[in-house]
Symmetry: C2
């Protein structure tokens, strides 16, 4: 069929800093990368995501498996093995790689075509970086059979580090995503009044984000005194606090922010509690600038958290984000996504993006949280979606 | 943390026909299933999808990996290992399994917790069904280490067969999804006039489907004489045909339909061409009823295709669908998703759902296609989204 095209074209220029990738591969002792996660394939292809498989992977008796092959120091030998349904996109916007084919249908033929491309290109295969979490076991077995002497290493760390410093274009997408998440939250809060369930509010946020051009990722939502953050039949009632914590991505780049709303007017205690959380956030923001150690953010946030003396269970969290909701810089081993805090002792660099969260579970007042996105700039920092930081009044435009 | 809960509760009743699953496992010689794909976990948990990971898998230094354990003939020993962020949903809507924990953070700890649960339950592990395409290589290695004498078999076929006969509740979700995809297409076509790009039309369909409660999966779109079906800057112009082929799911269940639109009035040739495609569709629909061999649909469709004598390149396709866009019954080895046509010689059963597609690439008139969803009922068949089968007039409500 016409879509199952194989084409060798004049290679273009990599849409990423390939010298940096080569250095990272050299440091990790990698000869070759075989990349199969959607987010890393998108990154290496300069923004491409297969439209047919954006929301799902399963198809037929296998699944979608994109394969990007990158030999160290030889971007002109990079190759992309796409699904046959990606041919239309390749026609509209040709892949930059010297070798590109859109011919696979599942894991096994994708792996076999990647092996054929690797052998044809004659690149080194002594130590191969693959994504352990995103390489299905059948494709992994095919690679092991094809390269029985190769050592397979998790490519996650090299790829995560490669992505850690965002380009101007990437930052712009993160900024847009953050602003649109805030706009969407403001619309949801204004348009809904007492008695609206968390399920309806969450669905409304999904629709508002989508209507603004985002892909909705999730909405964690808590109301009243409850700490439960799943959509449910619990209704938002007069006087209730509402915590909205949502991720929505713009062409893959995630806006991840949390804001607080209330039906009615906040009393002095609520104003004080959110104000103290805001102080922790601001103290952490102030610590962000190039050259300071990543751990400085934690020191600042946790010091402020201690000074704020908030009641109940409190938590300060900071983590890198971008194409992945928790990625480098990795500043702590704690949090909902535990990992080695490799970047606590490393200087922050311009283009790194950090999500900063302060959370309180108040025994009487409920779940109160702010989460923000802070970018390390050449001279300091910039905050995306830096609005609506106080109590947002609910139901101001609700239809009754 | 409070979310990392492990709880053993009184087991509920499986939300699926477990006797059927036991028979399928027996026939395949499987002692145990270890299920890790989102669609099969959703099926086995009676509709649960992790809200945080609905649109993405990557997080931290690993990925989301749900693990459902099902020992043959012992539903009371079924276990679910969820991510720690799934605890909120478990609180709202407890999992039915006797053992349920929401404590994992990545592939390796999820696999280790599953191994611990399997060992604690004391179930057979001689032959273990796992999903080859949805079991990451690191988790697979952990399972091999834990069960060195086990034989690992692809569980896809057993699970696909289990899902092939849809319940009344599943059919209702497929019906809703199909109707809402049609409603969304009608809105997009009515609201856009000459000069609208395919990119804008595709994005408009994403928003219309989302606004109606669907999760948008994809839009394949062709306009004018082009056979390219990717969103692009190509504009829909007066007189141009427009093919919309979209998938949108309702709680995971996919509506997948294709309709034709035109800006202006279709001429006699276009009316005739779409009419002949419609005849092929209707001939295939008529062949659908319980007890006839799956291949009968192909025989009917291809016979009608021959009789229709359509110009250009033509294709008739029929495939099962449901939680996966191409699944059992598998009626052909051809098509964009090739697989063994195991069901061509098997009688159709009530509750099976078949997508029927007739496609023409006309050298002068462009890409013309209809796609429909047909359900095998107790007495015959039912068609979902059975509307707007002719040329839909574009721009009738466009804002100028």
């Amino acid at each position: 069929m016409s879509l199952a095209a194989t084409m060798d074209q004049a290679p273009g220029s990599p849409p990423f800093d390939h010298a940096r990738l080569d250095r990272l591969m050299e440091a990790a002792g990698l000869d070759l990368l075989i990349v199969t996660s959607k987010h890393n394939v998108q990154y290496l292809l300069g923004g491409h995501r297969a439209i047919f498989f954006d929301s799902m992977d399963a198809t037929g008796i296998s699944r979608y498996l994109p394969v990007f092959v990158y030999p160290k120091g030889a971007p002109e030998k990079a190759a992309y093995i796409g699904h046959r349904l990606e041919g239309f996109q390749h026609e509209v916007n040709p892949f930059w790689t010297g070798h590109a084919e859109t011919s696979s249908a599942g894991t096994m033929d994708a792996a076999e075509k990647a092996v054929a491309a690797i052998n044809r290109l004659g690149v080194g295969t002594r130590r191969i970086g693959v994504e352990f979490g995103f390489m299905p076991m059948d494709a992994a077995a095919a690679l092991r059979r094809a390269f029985p002497d190769a050592e397979f290493v998790d490519a996650l760390y090299v790829l995560e580090r490669q992505r850690a410093r965002k380009s101007v274009a990437e930052l712009e997408m993160l900024r847009i995503a953050s602003e649109l998440v805030i706009d969407s939250m403001l619309a949801v809060v204004a348009n809904h009044g007492p008695g609206t369930t968390k399920r309806v509010l969450s669905e409304a946020l999904r629709r508002e984000e989508t209507a603004r051009g985002l892909t909705f990722d999730y909405c964690l939502i808590a109301a009243g005194k409850s700490f439960n953050r799943a959509p449910s039949e619990q209704a938002w009632q007069a006087g209730d606090v509402l915590s909205l914590d949502s991720g929505g991505n713009y062409h893959g780049y995630i806006g991840d922010l949390a804001r607080m709303a209330i039906l009615g007017e906040p009393d002095a205690e609520l104003e004080d509690l959110l104000g103290r959380i805001e102080e922790v956030q601001q103290a952490a923001f102030k610590a962000v600038r190039p050259g300071v150690l990543g751990g400085t953010i934690y020191a600042a946030g946790e010091h402020a958290l201690g000074r704020a003396a908030l009641p109940g269970s409190v938590e300060f969290l900071a983590h890198g984000m971008g194409l992945v909701s928790h990625e480098a810089p990795r500043l702590t081993a704690d949090g909902p996504v535990p990992y080695p805090a490799d970047d606590a002792d490393r200087p922050l660099e311009p283009g790194e993006v950090i999500s900063v969260e302060t959370t309180m579970k108040h025994p009487r007042r409920g779940f109160i949280k702010l989460e923000d996105t802070v970018v390390v700039t050449e001279t300091g920092s910039e905050i995306y979606g830096n609005r609506a930081r106080g109590w947002i009044r609910g139901g101001t435009q609700a239809q009754h």
